[in-house]
Every structure is written in structure tokens, then in C-alpha cells.
Amino acid sequence: MRCKDPIIVVKDLYVNFYTYAGVVKAINGVSFEICRGETYCLVGETGCGKSVTSRALTRLIKSPGRIEKGEIYFYPEPGKKIDIMKLSDEEIRKIRGYDIAYIFQDPSASLDPLYTIGYHVAETMAFHGVVQSIKEGIKKAAQVLRLAKMPDPESRVRAFPHELSGGMKQRAVIGMSLANRPKLLIADEPTTALDVTIQAQIMNFLKELKEKENLTLLLITHNMGLVAEMCDTVAVMYAGEIVEEAPVEELFKNPLHPYTRGLMRAVPKHVGKNVTLESIPGTVPNLIFPPPGCRFHPRCPYRFDPCDKKRPPLIEIEKNHKVACWLYAKEGGKR
């Protein structure tokens, strides 16, 4: 156990998508835990299962997807354990948006174009019993939007989504997600759809907010810069599996998994110098027919005998630094 006081614990999670082309094994035995109060990051390429993992935490997997097996425990308070997989639909609905709130990638797509921002905030509160009615919620919406640093919140309450800029829409979405004072905030690439300047604002604001509101943040991103700036603990995902998990400094100082190293080399470091960025050869595997053994082995420069036969276990190399790679598992220590 990494955490003394975890807020969420996931054990051996499997998610499949039953498509016409075949069964996509999107999440393949993922286990991790998030400590209360930290910022936990999931990084990886598009399609590696970051979003699916985050949505599986409140069973937000829609048909044709299905959580195949796994255990998910949520601790709203220290010592109080809720088995997410055993909850009824109604019980899990009450947790979504109340204890565990989400921010999705594209704020324009998160809002219903036909309703005002105030209505969105109000309904989020009203259906969780935070306010008695939507009417009352609309009155309180300005307050919520002010918390999300929305400029001129009073008039924004009456605005429709198309009347706001992307950054303001994301503030509105953040406002909605915070309206019920959640304990865990899951931000799924919250700034990917926004301008760079707005990105910085939103991220700084999230950081500030986290301290003020005593939030736990699960941040999903493919931006290594953001990871360095925001995260306490990082999990690197590849093709539906966690391949490495470490505290953020440790990961940047001493990346172990060949995939993590590849990711690091693909990030530009020295502006102005004429260096070519390295890329990881090959492409993300088709998860209908995932490669046997380690899913990264076809692209791995260090692959050797067991890699294409047996899946490497996620083992702890140093304190809190786990990696799933035969390079380290073989001797049970450093290479």
C-alpha cells in the first residue's frame, strides 16, 4: 500500500469494448491507488486507456463497453469504504457529480447548447439535494461561478454556452464540477481544447483550488510539461496497462520503462537549439489483437526473450517507484 489514507483504490481492472470489428481489450488489469489530497496523473498517448480508466472509476462506461472485472473502492472519508462495483445505479448516480466530479476535455461538448450556464450549475446542485430547486440553484449559481473565477459571474449565469469563449466555458464546467464540493475531481485533459495562454490560467487555478478546497485531483494528460508542474504521483499508461508509476521527481530523474524514456525524449527541452525530437518507432497496437506478453514489446528497443511471451508484473523497484518491464523483473533489481 502506497497510501496511508487512500481516496480511491483500483485493483485489477479490465474493461472491454464489444465492437463489430471485435473485442477491444481497452483496459487490461490496471491497479493503482490515489492518496487523499494528492494530484495523481495518468499520462500516455491518445487511445492508451487513460480516459476509460478515469470513467470506469464511477462506472461511466457506456455500451458497447463493459467493466469486465476488477475492484474499485472509494473512501469519501478516511476509513469509510464504498465498494463502487457493488452499488446500484441509483447509488452510483448519487456519487457522480457529488463526491466524484469530472471535467472533460472539450467544454463546448460538455454543455447543452439550449440551456443557460446558470441552469447547468443549478441542475447539478438541485439533483444532488444541495439546493431545494433549480430556481434556488440559479440564484446561487453566480457564487459558484465566482469560485471558478468566471469574470462577471452575475451576467454569465444568464448566458448560453455559445455566448462564452472556450476558456470561459471551461470555467463554467469547472464551476459545475465544484458546485457540490466534491472530494475527488477527475480532470480529463482539461486544457487540451484550449489556447496555450488559457491553459496556463486554468491549470494555475486548478492548483490553487486544490489547496483551498482540500481536493484530490486525478489529472489525465499527455502533456509532460503539465505533469512536471502539477503532479505528485505519475502513472504512465500504455495500451491499456500501467507500465510505470512513480513520484513526479523520481520519474523525471530516473525513468525506467523504455516507453517512459521514449516519452521523455519526445518532449522538446532546449528551445532554440537545433535538436531533432526523437519519436518512438512503430504505432500504438490494435487492442483487438494486442501483442502477447508485454504490450510494448514490438516497439521496444531492448526487447529480449520473455517479452513477447509473458506479461511483466508491476513491481516496486525503489520506494513507490513501480515498473512493469522484464528488464527489471528478471534480476528483481536494477539492470
Binding site: L60, I95, A101, D112, L114, F127, H162
Partner: protein, 332 residues
């Protein structure tokens, strides 16, 4: 609100050229048909030459058609234009026949809304089940079955076999507020007359509505499924809102295209009215226009076209206003 008023005024002004265009084209088509209308009006073969000449003079038939059109429109709008065949003023005829058509299309429209929309929603909610398949077949039949064929089939069933309906006369209450018994009976809370009207009109209205029901059911199914697949629905789930609230959002989003098509469907009803009225023996404006055509009374016919065009434009104006009420992104 000021914007809305400006929009309505702007649209009302466009009514004028549209009405002139519609009536002019129809008048042109009627006038270029090689026939001698004055002789026909005067009684055909046995026509008295004097009467024929009087008619030619009265209706300016020896002048080019656009001059004829001008005199027709002038007379029509001043309510001095008399039908050369029936001897009544054209507006009088319209006033007599219009209520029947209005009742028929209104009841039809209610059928489209009350049957078409729920069928589409059920179909979407039960997607890819036998219920969905059945509804889709019903809808497809509605779009493809000719209404006159269906009408005779149903007349055979309900009139000949079961005797549930009548095919002549229309209920007229002793009072008149708007001139339309259906609306008057509702205003007066006279449910007996209301029931009589419904009893006379339900089958023709249903037959007339069937293609529209098919179109709307298919459209509602697709737009509902579209809206159900939008990203904001995912976010509604992620916020833990209950199912009913989600459907509320979905339905409102699905309504935007549906309202537009409902407006167009009204035009379809008006266009289908002549056939339905003729088959079911309803003395409406559609049947009146058909008889006008048979007797070369194109003056009455163009008068009918004028009123129908006016109704159609008004309905679509209402649709455009509704459209902006539902969707805040629409600006006038």
C-alpha cells in the same frame, strides 16, 4: 423583444411579394390553357353570344393575361370579384369552404404531433428491438402508401363493414364565433358538437396525417438518437443527473429540427386536402378548388390558392418564431 417584432414585421412584408408570385404563377398557368373560358362559363355549346360578350367585357378576357391578373387581384382584394360560375363572391366561397379544411388540417396536425412524435421516441428508446422494427415499418408505409388507396381501404372497413363513420354533411353548431365549429365548440365548452366534429373528421384526418406521421416518426427517432449520442449527455451522466432530466435535455435538443419539419408538414396537409376531401365527401376548400378547375373557374381557384398560401406562410412564420424560442443560438 424589439428584435422579435422587427423580425415579424420584416417577414410580414415578404408575404406580399410571395403572395403576388404564387397567385401570378397559378393565374398564368390557368390563363394560358387554350380554352374559351367565357363560353364555358356561359354554358358551353349552347351559350348565348350576348352573355359571352358580357363576360368577356366583365372579366377583361380580351386583354393580355397580366391585365386580367391585375383586375382579378384588384377585385379579389376589394371583395368585388364574383365567380362567373357560382355567382357568389370569391371571398364568400372561401368563407363557406375554409372552415372544413381548417378543421381537417388541424385535426390531422394534432394526429401527426400526438402519434408521430411518441412513435419516434419509443422507436429510439427501444432501438433495434422488434418494437423499433414495427414502428419503422409503419412509418415507412406512411411515407410510401398513396393516401387515396389507404382512404378507400379504410372507408371499406369503417363505413361499409362497420358503419362507424358517415361520408356526407358536416356538423354545424347554431352559434359562430370564429366560423370554425371545432374551435367554437371548444370556446363554448360545447362537448357534444366537439364530439360530432371529431366523429366526422377523425378518419379523413388520420388518412391525411399518415404520411406526416411516418415522416415525423422517422425524424424524431433519428434526431432523438443523435441527441442521445451527444457529448453533453455523457457529461449529464458524469454529473449524476437522473434519467428523466437527461431525457429532458435530449428531447429539447431533438425538437429543433422536428419543429421545422412540422411546419413543412402543414404544407403537406394543405396539399393533400383536395384528395382527402373529395374521397370523404367533405365540402372543403380543396374540393372547392378541384370543382373550380373542372368548371374552368380559375378565378375561384386562384382565390383558394391565395388563402392556402397565406395559411402556409403564417404557419411557417410561427415555426420560425418557435425555432428561436427553443434554440437560443438562432438570431432573428
Amino acid at each position: 423583444m424589439a428584435e422579435l417584432r422587427r423580425f415579424i414585421i420584416r417577414r410580414l412584408i415578404t408575404f406580399v411579394p410571395t403572395l403576388i408570385g404564387v397567385t401570378f404563377i397559378v393565374y398564368l398557368i390557368a390563363a394560358v390553357v387554350p380554352a374559351n373560358p367565357a363560353r364555358l362559363w356561359a354554358g358551353g355549346q349552347k351559350a348565348n353570344q350576348q352573355v359571352v360578350e358580357m363576360l368577356i367585357k366583365e372579366y377583361h378576357l380580351n386583354q393580355p393575361f397580366y391585365i386580367q391578373y391585375y383586375y382579378f387581384m384588384k377585385g379579389f382584394l376589394e371583395n368585388t370579384m364574383v365567380s362567373p360560375v357560382t355567382g357568389y363572391k370569391v371571398w364568400h366561397e372561401i368563407k363557406v369552404y375554409m372552415p372544413v379544411t381548417v378543421q381537417l388540417t388541424l385535426i390531422s396536425f394534432v394526429f401527426i404531433v400526438l402519434i408521430g412524435i411518441p412513435l419516434g421516441i419509443i422507436s429510439a428508446l427501444k432501438k433495434d428491438t422488434w418494437i423499433d422494427a414495427t414502428i419503422r415499418v409503419i412509418a415507412l408505409l406512411g411515407v410510401s402508401v398513396p393516401i387515396f388507396w389507404l382512404a378507400y381501404l379504410l372507408i371499406f372497413l369503417f363505413f361499409t363493414k362497420l358503419g362507424w363513420i358517415t361520408l356526407s354533411g358536416t356538423p354545424t353548431p347554431p352559434y359562430s364565433i370564429t366560423g370554425i365549429p371545432l374551435i367554437d365548440s371548444i370556446l363554448k365548452l360545447d362537448w357534444r358538437t366537439f364530439a360530432e366534429v371529431i366523429k366526422r373528421y377523425w378518419l379523413p384526418a388520420l388518412v391525411l396525417a399518415y404520411p406526416g406521421i411516418g415522416v415525423i416518426a422517422r425524424l424524431v427517432r433519428n434526431t432523438f438518437l443523435d441527441a442521445l449520442g451527444s457529448d453533453f449527455v455523457d457529461y449529464i451522466d458524469a454529473r449524476g443527473l437522473p434519467r428523466n432530466q437527461m431525457y429532458r435535455h435530449v428531447l429539447k435538443n431533438a425538437m429543433v429540427p422536428i419543429v421545422t419539419v412540422l411546419g413543412l408538414q402543414f404544407g403537406g396537409l394543405l396539399a393533400g386536402a383536395p384528395i382527402t376531401e373529395t374521397i370523404f365527401g367533405l365540402p372543403g376548400i380543396g374540393r372547392f378548388m378541384l370543382t373550380s378547375i373542372y368548371s374552368s373557374d380559375y378565378l375561384s381557384m386562384v382565390g383558394g390558392v391565395f388563402v392556402i398560401a397565406l395559411i402556409y406562410m403564417t404557419v411557417n412564420l410561427i415555426v420560425d418564431i418557435l425555432y428561436a424560442v427553443i434554440d437560443p443560438r438562432v438570431r432573428y
